[in-house]
Symmetry: C2
Subunit: 482 residues, 2 copies
Amino acid sequence: MDSLHPADSTQFLQQQLEAVIHLLEKQELENTLVRKSTSSHHDLEEALVEKQHHVRLQELLSDLHPADIAFILESLPLDQRKQVWDSIKADHDGQILLELSDAVRETLIADMEPEELATFASNLDADEIAELADDLPKRAMLKILRSLNSQERSHLKTILSYEDDQVGAYMDFNMIAIRDDLNLEAVIEYLRNLGKLPSHTDKLFVVDQENIVKGILPVQRLLTHEPTQQVHEAMVNDFVQFQIDEDLADAARAFERYDLISAPVVDAQGQLQGRLSVANIIDFIREKSDDDLLSQAGVEEDEDLFSGVWKAAQNRWGWLLINIATAFASTRIIDVFQDIIVQLVALASLMPIVAAMGGNMANQTSMLIIRSLALGHITSTNVRRLIRKELSLGLLNGTIIGLLIGMLSWLLYRDTALSLVMGAAMLINLMLAVIVGLTIPLSRHKLGKDPAVGASVMLTAITDSMGFFIFLGLAKWFLIGR
Amino acid sequence: MDSLHPADSTQFLQQQLEAVIHLLEKQELENTLVRKSTSSHHDLEEALVEKQHHVRLQELLSDLHPADIAFILESLPLDQRKQVWDSIKADHDGQILLELSDAVRETLIADMEPEELATFASNLDADEIAELADDLPKRAMLKILRSLNSQERSHLKTILSYEDDQVGAYMDFNMIAIRDDLNLEAVIEYLRNLGKLPSHTDKLFVVDQENIVKGILPVQRLLTHEPTQQVHEAMVNDFVQFQIDEDLADAARAFERYDLISAPVVDAQGQLQGRLSVANIIDFIREKSDDDLLSQAGVEEDEDLFSGVWKAAQNRWGWLLINIATAFASTRIIDVFQDIIVQLVALASLMPIVAAMGGNMANQTSMLIIRSLALGHITSTNVRRLIRKELSLGLLNGTIIGLLIGMLSWLLYRDTALSLVMGAAMLINLMLAVIVGLTIPLSRHKLGKDPAVGASVMLTAITDSMGFFIFLGLAKWFLIGR
């Protein structure tokens, strides 16, 4: 990577991007000119121009880190992206594909031959191939499998046998394991022969002859301890290791809590199986938080910024359709009360407020619960106190907001009974909102399901329908036929 | 830290938590019994029981990592949390305070004396004290400042002089800087004398006599290169460094892109000022993503799970009040059309759908734009294509959803004109939703403001009001007086 000042890193990348776009547009123009020229060397000229641009693009991108080239590809519209990719792919390897977002990677892989893809993957590690596996066509995957040696193949199969949210799916095999009966000098000699340590090697894993992890040896101890010391004397016995089938979110929290850089992954017998590194943990945290934010806003999966319109549309339908269904459900409730709306049309103006505020309050409550569940802060002994707190809060906020909204309604319509009904409906719907905001995530968690999934849709559906029902119901009871 | 298997890490912590709660409840019970006893040694007995629990609590928590004790404190209700803290604080130092969430830390600091706090801070580094600075009372801060030596004091002042989102605010001073005219053997000797390297030391920073960073020396090269080599031969010249006043979010992206563990922080002259480490970057990423999710749900800041009801209520008012204001604004629009609602009451049932779908679509669009802006993917040259794509998408989805909703309305009310108005209103409001979903974040970004702040409230306010206006307006124009 170039000696770039990430001071202006994003700016620098954006400048490179502008340069690429500029080049592509110039190329477009020149091609048009050549095509229009009446020269007899038409084909030759066109090939020449093509060749020139090819070289210029390569020059522009050759010094960049694969992650930076990936950034530029992601920021380019589809046609330009493919043009750039075709110009540079011969000089690069699978690293760029690894760095791309899933959605953008798909657009590039779609146009590549299985042979080409297999060549790309040939310099990747098993854990890196596993990352691409979902997006690779079957034929390419078979070719890649055949090109691997038996150890690599078994590594790949191990990773692919774990679920996306398990430690096994995110581990790599770039660990250095040593036996505990060596002295440090021998270890240093061994490392010197290796020449280069894998990235994120802050510690060596010490194993016995059954490959069971006994301790860790921080690399810095090789420098600060006496070379004659034995590994088992210099190693750390209190260390963090992860089970291969354990929840990755838990492992990520442990990386944060203990400020880890790498940690051994073991099976149920304690045998060393692989390694987790902080680089993979950061990727996981970022992906998870992006997913949460996008799904909160009703976008199903990460979207290529310049994907086809049709594809993007499909990515957003799920959410919109569910919302149509719940919205129509609440119209059925309103319809039941048509007669009283006709008698007191102010109800039509006020009812959306009751529904909307309920949705807001339910979302506040459920988000805090979902987050506390994710942190592991909620247990069977403290959950009752938590429920009591949130209910008191609902009562307090319900009363205050009920009073406020009752007063505002009175200012608008000067109708005391209507204002009382509005305030009471508000209080009841807010209490209900807190109850569903608590129960939906807590019960989903109890059933072993992700408490966050679909929470906001269900909450809004309930608080909308109930909001309309409570408000219009109270109105019918108290206001009509006065 | 204990040799715990984080396999069951969260589980293990929860077990410790249950044990603590159990102990506290038992204590409560015994205290009550002693108070009721008629023994003449009443006071003595009570003191004895107290002492026993104190010891048991200490035993239970003594082996835990500060981060784990912080976890337990965060999961305890306020009264029990203070009880535990009072029992253990004498044996611990400021590390636990550092690991606590802001909201929980406040609850503990509130009851501590300035002298006590100053003692706690005495073993912390300048960057750690800076992290606490916001929560410490002024008197404690003065005491701490007085106890620091001049270098620590200047470090502390440097950090505090930067904004929360700048690199300077998150850096530490745990770097090892070496001159480039040494050989590796001398460097190794120097490290051996240090005895222990600071955590996250994967590289040494090579500086010239003006303290300007010339390169980095990966620690592993001390092991794999010849000891007789000069530092300037062994060092890496292509490295990533950060400007002290640069945006931390950009730095975090660079850490992810280049898989960094640590990196030098320099001033405008290139002089070494400090260090960023991946541990701080993870904290930043996590905090930012938590904040985004919470504010998306209308919770202002991170909340203590067991905070007082009154405090929690205030944390949620801001959002609720804004929503009351916008909701009442849209009632004014509905009121204008009261006459036509009375004539055709089905309008009252259908109008919330138009408003709600607009809000959903606007949120989808704006979330993708906000995210792409954060990633730096949007530049002046590609923004026009992006706008074109999103508008086409709005037209496509608007047409499909307009047709679908028109048909559903027809099934409900068998009124062709009403269904046409419904479908047309849907299409127009969805197009409008896409336009505001694009313009609000893009224009906020252009003005140099955070595009995410307040986006969802403004969008919903606009799509609600306009949804009601478009639908009822079309209805008045086409349906009434048929």
